[in-house]
Amino acid sequence: MKRVLLALAAGVVFLAGTTALAQRQGGMRFGGGSNAPIKPNIPYDGRFTFIRLRYGPPIAYQTQRVPWSHDYPEGEENMMKILNEISDLAPHIEQSNILALEDPEIFKYPVTYMCEPGRYFYVTDEAARNMRAYLHKGGFLIIDDFRYNDWNNFEAQMLRILPDARMVDLDASHPIFHSFFEINSLEEIPNYYDRGSPIFRGIYEDNDPKKRLMVVIGYNTDISEFWEFSGTGLKPVDESNEAFKVGVNFFIYGLTH
C-alpha cells in the first residue's frame, strides 16, 4: 500500500504542482498565500465534501493574513484527490466548502477541518454553542497548523466550546493512526516547524479515552502545508507522503468512528 501511495502521491504532486506553480508565478500575492478567489459553496448532496471552518468574517480571496484560509484551496484539493484515488470515499475534489463556526450547515458534514486556530482564533458565544452541539451530536473536528504559545489561546477558545474538555496527548498506538494506513511511530510524520516529532492531542467524549474521539489536534506541525505544497516540489515526496497518510487516516477515522 505504501508503494501505491508513493506512486499516487508523486502523480498528484506532478499534476497539481504545475497548476500551483503557475498560479504562484502570476499576479500579486497580498500578504502571501495563494490569493485564490474563494469559490462559492456547493449545496449538500450526500457526497463527502471537505469542510474548512471559518472563524471571523468571510473573505473574497485566500490570504496568509487570515489564518483559517491557509493552504486554501490546494490543500484540500490535493487531499481529496489522494482520498479519491486510494479509497472508496468518492469525495468532491474540485469543490470544497467554507463554513463559519456559527453556520448550522456544518451539521450536514460530520467531519470538518480547521486551520491555524492560534493567536487569532476567536469563538463567539453562538459559535461555541453551535460547535458544542456539533461535537456532542457526533461531529468530528480536525485541527491543524499552530504552535508555540498559540496553544494558550487555542485552549482558551476550545474551552469556550467544550468547557470541561481535557486535551490529552495521543501516541502512535491510537486507532486514528491505524484507521487506513499503519502509522506506527509519530516520528514518521514530518514536523513543518521544528525538529522532533509533531504533537497530536485529542478530546474525548466525556473526557473518557474509551469513548469517541471528538477532536484531533495537530499541534506544532502543519500537515496541510504538505498537502498544499505537495505539488510544488518544495517539499520532499516522502514528507508529503507521510502528511497525506495522516490526512487520510484522520478523515477515514472521522467517518468511521
Binding site: G46, S87, E105, K108, P110, L255, T256
Partner: protein, 759 residues
C-alpha cells in the same frame, strides 16, 4: 301465550301439526252422501240466484258466506285427522346430556346461573319436565365438558369444566346408547363449544343413525353488560428490552363510550396502564398497548380491564399470553461499501443495546476492510462471507452503499437464500451504490427486496430532499413508533428534518408494505421505507442515503434520542423471529392438565437445508423438576419436520428443550415453555350460542328449545317417530276453531241481512 292460544283453538300443540300426517277419515258411503248433499245445496243456490229482487252485490256476499259455512260443515263431515307415530311409554331410551362446564355458572338468567335450569328441571324429582320425561322414557344421563361421562342423574354436577366439546359428547352418548331403542338425545347446554375440531363429523354420524337431538339452550344470547378482552396478538418470542406494541381486541355491551383502564402485567408486575374508550355496543375495537419486555425468560403477560359495575361476566376481562423473552445477543452484519457516516451513527445508536451486536465490515478501499465489533479476531478477515455457513451465522444483514458487482454470483445467491431459506432479515440502504444505481437490477436480491426498481434507473443522477412521513400502515407499525404514544409519535414525525435520496423508488412489490414515504423535489411519491416477507425471512428497503441527519441536523436537540430509538427498533425488527437450526412450536401456549401438547420441530443444518435423518429428542421438565425424554419422529409429509406430543399431569410451567443431532454431531436446540393450567376459554364469547344449537337440532331432526318452552320437550320427543312407536290418530273435526268459524260465518250472514233489510 301463543302456544296456549294455539292449543285452545286447534286442540293440539303446533308440534302435533308439524309431526302429523293429515288424513280424511270419512267412509265411502259417507263421502257419497256428502257429495249428494253438496249437489242439492248447489242446486238450491242456483235457484236462489233467480230471485230478482236482490242486488248483485248482496247476492254475491250472501252466496259466499253460505257456501263457506257449507264447506266448513262438509270439511268436518269428512272427518279430518292427524296421524302421528308416538313413542311407546317406557319402551324407549332417552340420552340426556348436561353441560358441566364453567360457563354454566354464568348468571344471565334473571341473575340466576344457567345451571339453575338443570337443578330446577332435571334434578328436582317433582319438576314437571323430569316427571314427563321419566314417564315416557328410560333416561340415561351424561355430563360433558372436555370429556363425557355417564352419570346416574343430573345431580352432582360441579360446573367446573374448563372446555366444552359438544361433538365429542354427542359421539360418546351415541356409542353408549347404541343397540338400544333410542327416542333421541337431549342436550342441555349454552352451546359454547371450545373444541378445535368441527362438529360436522359427529353430526353426520348422528344423522346417519337417525338420532334426533333436542337441544335446550340455556343463557342469554346477548349479555346486557359485559366487557371482554377478545383477542391479544403477541409475538411468541421477543428480544429482551424490545418495546412491544400489542393489538388487543375489546368487545363490550352496556358500556359504550366509557373510559376504562387497560393494564398489562409481566408476571404480576404492572408494566403498562392506558385509558381506553370502549366501542359501541356489540362492536369490537382494536386497542394498542405498549410495554417493554424487560425481563428474560418465559414471561406470562396479563392484559386486563378491571371488572366494571354490574358486569355479568368478569372472568373474560383478562387474557394471558406467554412470551419467550430471549436475552441473547443477536448478530447483524453491517456491510458498508464505502466510508459513509451512516454506519458510524448506527453503531453509536445501538452500541448500548446489550442484545444487539452490529458487526461492521467497512470497505475503505478495494480489498481493504475496516472491521469492528467482532466476535473473534478472524471474523470477516477476508471480507464479506464466502460460505453459507459463515453468512448464515448472522441473523440480519444490512447493505449500505455496496454495488452488486462487489459480490460474486454465488454470494448474490447466498444473500437471497439468507432471506428465503435461512429466514434472516435483510436491509438495503439508499445511496449511489444501491438499488438500480448500484447495479442490483436483475440480481437474485432484486427479487427479495420489497421495492421495484427495474425501470427507475435514470440516466441523469437523481437527487432529492424528502420530507419523510409514516404512511397509514406505518403510523401504527410498532417499528415506526418514535415516541411514547401513537399521538406523540405522529407529532414527532411531523418535526423530523428532511433527508435526501439518490434512488428514485416509486413502487413496491405486491404484498410489500410501505411504512415511510415522502414527496420528492418533483412532487412525486418516493418510497422511503418498505418491508415484505420473503420465504422464511423478511426484507427491508430504506431508500434514503442519510438518515443520520435525524441525529446531526441543526434542528435536532443534542439530547434528542429519536434516531437512536428509530434505529434500535429497526435493527431489532430485522432480527426478530429469525429462526435457529431447530425451531419448536406448539399450537397453544397453555393446555389443561391431562390435555396433550403437540410438538412440532423444524430441523435444518448449518446451511439451513432441512434434515430428515436427525435424532430429535424433546426433553420435558415438569414444574416439580420431574423430567421425561420424548423422541420426535420425522413427519414424512414435510422435509425437516418432526412431531411428538406429551401430556402434562401437573399444573405449572413445563420446559421443553428440543435437541437435534445427526451422526453424533449437534445440529442445534430450542427451548419452549408450555403452561399447564385450568383455562378460562369458557368465559369468552360465552353468550348462549343459539345458532349452533339450532343447527345441531335441525340437522339431526330434533328441535331447539329454550327454558321458556322446554315444557314441550317430552311431547316433541314422543312424536319424533324414533324408537319403539305406535300410530296415533288425532281428530280435527272437533277443533274449537271450526265451531267458532261456523258461528262467525252464520252470524255475519245474519248481521248482513239485517243491515241490508233482506231478512
Amino acid at each position: 301465550m301463543f302456544e296456549g292460544l294455539f292449543r285452545f283453538l286447534f286442540k293440539y300443540r303446533p308440534l302435533v301439526f308439524e309431526q302429523g300426517d293429515f288424513v280424511l277419515g270419512a267412509s265411502r258411503p259417507m263421502v257419497a252422501a256428502i257429495l249428494v248433499a253438496g249437489l242439492i245445496a248447489a242446486y238450491a243456490l242456483v235457484t236462489y240466484r233467480r230471485v230478482g229482487r236482490t242486488a248483485p252485490r248482496d247476492r254475491f256476499v250472501l252466496i259466499t258466506l253460505r257456501l263457506a259455512a257449507l264447506a266448513l260443515v262438509l270439511f268436518c263431515l269428512f272427518r279430518p285427522a292427524l296421524i302421528l307415530k308416538a313413542a311407546v311409554p317406557q319402551q324407549n331410551f332417552l340420552g340426556v346430556l348436561v353441560d358441566d362446564s364453567r360457563s354454566m355458572q354464568i348468571a344471565d338468567r334473571q341473575s340466576q346461573p344457567r345451571s339453575d335450569f338443570v337443578r330446577g328441571n332435571l334434578v328436582n324429582a317433582d319438576s314437571p319436565l323430569l316427571k314427563a320425561l321419566s314417564e315416557r322414557f328410560v333416561l340415561r344421563f351424561f355430563r360433558f365438558s372436555a370429556s363425557t361421562d355417564r352419570v346416574p342423574s343430573a345431580d352432582g354436577m360441579k360446573y367446573a369444566g374448563t372446555s366444552t366439546h359438544l361433538g365429542q359428547a354427542l359421539a360418546r352418548a351415541r356409542d353408549e346408547l347404541s343397540g338400544l331403542p333410542l327416542a333421541g338425545l337431549v342436550m342441555v347446554s349454552d352451546g359454547d363449544d371450545t373444541s378445535d375440531t368441527s362438529l360436522d363429523e359427529s353430526l353426520a354420524s348422528i344423522k346417519a343413525r337417525s338420532i334426533p337431538v333436542f337441544t335446550v339452550g340455556v343463557g342469554a344470547e346477548r349479555f346486557a353488560r359485559d366487557i371482554q378482552v377478545t383477542r391479544v396478538e403477541t409475538p411468541r418470542i421477543a428480544l429482551k428490552g424490545t418495546a412491544l406494541v400489542v393489538n388487543i381486541v375489546v368487545t363490550q355491551a352496556g358500556y359504550a363510550g366509557a373510559t376504562v383502564p387497560l393494564e398489562v402485567e409481566d408476571n404480576g408486575r404492572i408494566v403498562s396502564s392506558e385509558e381506553i374508550t370502549l366501542p359501541p355496543d356489540g362492536e369490537s375495537a382494536t386497542m394498542r398497548v405498549r410495554f417493554t419486555a424487560s425481563d428474560a425468560g418465559p414471561r406470562v403477560f396479563t392484559f386486563r380491564i378491571p371488572p366494571q359495575a354490574n358486569e355479568q361476566v368478569t372472568q373474560n376481562n383478562t387474557r394471558e399470553a406467554l412470551i419467550e423473552v430471549s436475552d441473547r445477543r443477536e448478530q447483524i452484519l453491517y456491510y458498508e461499501g464505502q466510508p459513509r457516516p451512516e454506519a458510524t451513527f448506527v453503531k453509536r445508536a445501538v452500541e448500548d443495546d446489550k442484545n444487539l451486536q452490529v458487526v461492521l465490515l467497512r470497505r475503505t478501499a478495494p480489498n481493504k476492510y475496516y472491521r469492528e465489533n467482532l466476535s473473534t479476531p478472524d471474523e470477516l478477515v477476508a471480507g464479506f462471507p464466502a460460505t453459507r455457513e459463515e453468512l448464515f451465522a448472522y441473523r440480519g444483514v444490512i447493505l449500505d452503499g455496496v454495488d452488486a458487482d462487489s459480490f460474486t454470483p454465488e454470494q448474490l445467491r447466498m444473500l437471497a437464500d439468507f432471506v428465503n431459506k435461512r429466514g434472516g432479515g435483510l436491509m438495503m440502504l439508499g445511496g449511489r451504490h444501491s438499488f438500480a444505481e448500484g447495479g442490483w437490477t436483475g440480481t437474485p436480491l432484486a427479487e427479495v427486496l420489497p421495492v421495484a426498481f427495474d425501470a427507475t434507473k435514470s440516466r441523469t443522477p437523481y437527487f432529492s430532499t424528502i420530507t419523510v412521513r409514516p404512511t397509514r400502515a406505518g403510523a401504527t407499525y410498532p417499528m415506526m413508533q418514535i415516541a411514547d404514544t401513537e399521538e406523540a409519535s405522529a407529532q414527532r414525525w411531523e418535526k423530523m428534518p428532511a433527508l435526501t435520496a439518490v434512488n428514485p423508488i416509486r413502487e413496491v412489490k405486491p404484498g410489500a408494505t410501505i411504512l415511510l414515504s415522502g414527496l420528492d423535489n418533483q412532487k412525486k411519491d418516493q418510497v422511503v421505507l418498505a418491508v415484505q416477507r420473503y420465504g422464511r425471512g423478511k426484507a427491508l428497503a430504506f431508500a434514503i442515503q442519510d438518515s443520520w441527519l435525524w441525529r446531526m441536523h441543526a434542528s435536532m436537540s443534542v439530547n434528542d434520542t429519536t434516531y437512536q430509538t428509530f434505529w434500535r427498533r429497526l435493527a431489532r425488527w430485522l432480527v426478530e423471529g429469525v429462526p435457529d437450526h431447530v425451531v419448536t412450536t406448539t399450537t397453544e401456549d397453555r393446555v389443561d392438565p391431562g390435555e396433550a401438547v403437540p410438538l412440532t420441530a423444524q430441523v435444518v443444518d448449518a446451511s439451513y437445508i432441512e434434515v430428515n435423518n436427525a435424532r430429535v429428542l424433546a426433553h420435558v421438565t415438569a414444574p416439580s423438576g420431574k423430567t421425561a425424554d420424548v423422541p420426535m419422529d420425522w413427519s414424512v409429509t414435510r422435509d425437516g419436520e418432526y412431531r411428538a406430543s406429551f401430556t402434562p399431569d401437573e399444573e405449572g410451567l413445563y420446559s421443553v428443550r428440543v435437541g437435534a443431532t445427526r451422526d453424533q454431531k449437534d445440529l442445534g436446540a430450542d427451548v419452549i415453555h408450555v403452561r399447564s393450567s385450568a383455562g378460562d376459554s369458557e368465559y369468552f364469547d360465552a353468550a348462549m350460542r343459539a345458532p349452533l344449537l339450532k343447527r345441531i337440532a335441525e340437522e339431526t331432526g330434533g328441535r331447539f328449545f329454550t327454558p321458556d318452552n322446554a315444557a314441550g320437550l317430552p311431547e316433541a320427543i314422543s312424536y319424533s317417530g324414533r324408537g319403539v312407536t305406535v300410530v296415533e290418530e288425532h281428530d280435527l273435526w272437533d277443533m274449537p276453531v271450526l265451531l267458532l268459524l261456523l258461528i262467525a260465518l252464520t252470524g255475519t250472514e245474519w248481521a248482513y241481512r239485517r243491515t241490508r233489510g233482506l231478512a
